[in-house]
């Protein structure tokens, strides 16, 4: 019995996308899925959190307000350290990105039936990363015009190496959205799969299940760190790419 159920409910089931409200527009499946639902939930929670945290606006912050201030300070200092004073303009963008990913990661960790981690799907993270990539490239082009392409030829390189080095630099540049999205999605996917696999052992082993249970607790703790860390890494790398577009390797 248990085996049959375990086979029917594998550790990867948590990533399946269900159509909650089927919508088809001109042959395109635009259904409202559980992924969309959880994205909405994270946006709503971020909004609620920041509204509630800043409502008081007291000089001595309360619990919520100091959390919000810590998040603000984290992103602001990452932007300041990596981009410089020019980066202040892009703070709202990076901060929204950071908060959205952070909340999506944390919501995915809440162990209730039907829980879903939006950021474990590569298409979600790739959409974010591709948007960043296009935006950063456009910012660079707008700021430096054609001089932007000097990004692909580091200063002080002998000219006869350029035919070899320029393609390498261009591939390295095109790699950014892939590595950015794969990093986040793979981290979430691996962690959640591992959690579910070990949670399956707890039931299968019966009375001896306490051993994997302790392990699950430990992994869960690690996952909380990873959820935060990956959101932070995503934000920091966005800052770095912005810095490349704005400062062109000059720092």
């Amino acid at each position: 019995m248990e085996h049959e159920e375990a086979a029917a409910h594998g550790p990867l089931d948590q990533f399946t996308i269900d159509r909650l409200i089927p919508i088809h527009i001109g042959g395109i499946d635009a259904s409202f899925t559980n992924a969309a639902l959880f994205m909405l939930i994270s946006v709503a929670l971020v909004t609620w959190f920041l509204m509630a945290a800043t409502r008081g606006g007291s000089l001595v912050p309360g619990r919520l307000q100091s959390l919000a201030e810590a998040a603000y300070g984290l992103v602001a200092s990452a932007l300041r350290d990596n981009v410089g004073p020019e980066g202040k303009k892009y703070f709202p963008f990076v901060f929204s990105l950071f908060m959205f990913i952070l909340f999506a990661n944390f919501i995915g960790l809440i162990p209730v039936p039907g829980s879903f981690t939006v950021t474990s799907h590569i298409i979600v993270t790739f959409a974010l990363a591709f948007f960043i990539f296009v935006m950063v490239t456009l910012i660079g082009l707008a700021r430096h015009k054609l001089h932007f392409f000097s990004l692909f030829l580091p200063a002080g390189v002998p000219i006869y190496l350029a035919p070899l080095l320029v393609p390498i630099e261009i591939i390295g540049y095109l790699t950014r959205p892939i590595s950015l999205s794969v990093r986040l999605a793979a981290n979430m996917l691996a962690g959640h799969t591992m959690l579910e696999v070990f949670a399956g052992f707890v039931i299968a082993l019966g009375i001896f299940g306490f051993a994997p249970f302790l392990f699950v607790i430990a992994i869960y703790g690690l996952e909380v760190i990873v959820a935060f860390l990956q959101a932070y890494v995503f934000a920091v790398l966005t800052c770095l790419y912005l810095s490349d577009a704005i400062n062109l390797h000059k720092h």
Partner: protein, 107 residues
Amino acid sequence: MTDDKPPPPADRTPPALGDFGQRLRRAQGESEQTQGPASGVNSRGLGLAFRMATELVAALIVGGGIGWFLDRWLGTRPWLLLVFLTLGMAAGMLNAFREAKRLEREG
């Protein structure tokens, strides 16, 4: 404004508010220093290793992808795939190297 001079020991008034900002910054610096290396060494190392690995793999995917599409387009299978895979490998190493250099600078 007497910044560095400690308050005279004779009177029992608390230290002046003038250097409060400085003292606060010093205290924060101390607490950051004591927290810094101890907190999350393992998770940080794990994150770094993962970052390097994705950098290498992603560049390989991009290089291979470009080569594959160019091959299909120009009908030169498999030569451009091989060339761009090699370039992708080089790009991945370059990216990983830059990342490592940046982290080293940050300390």
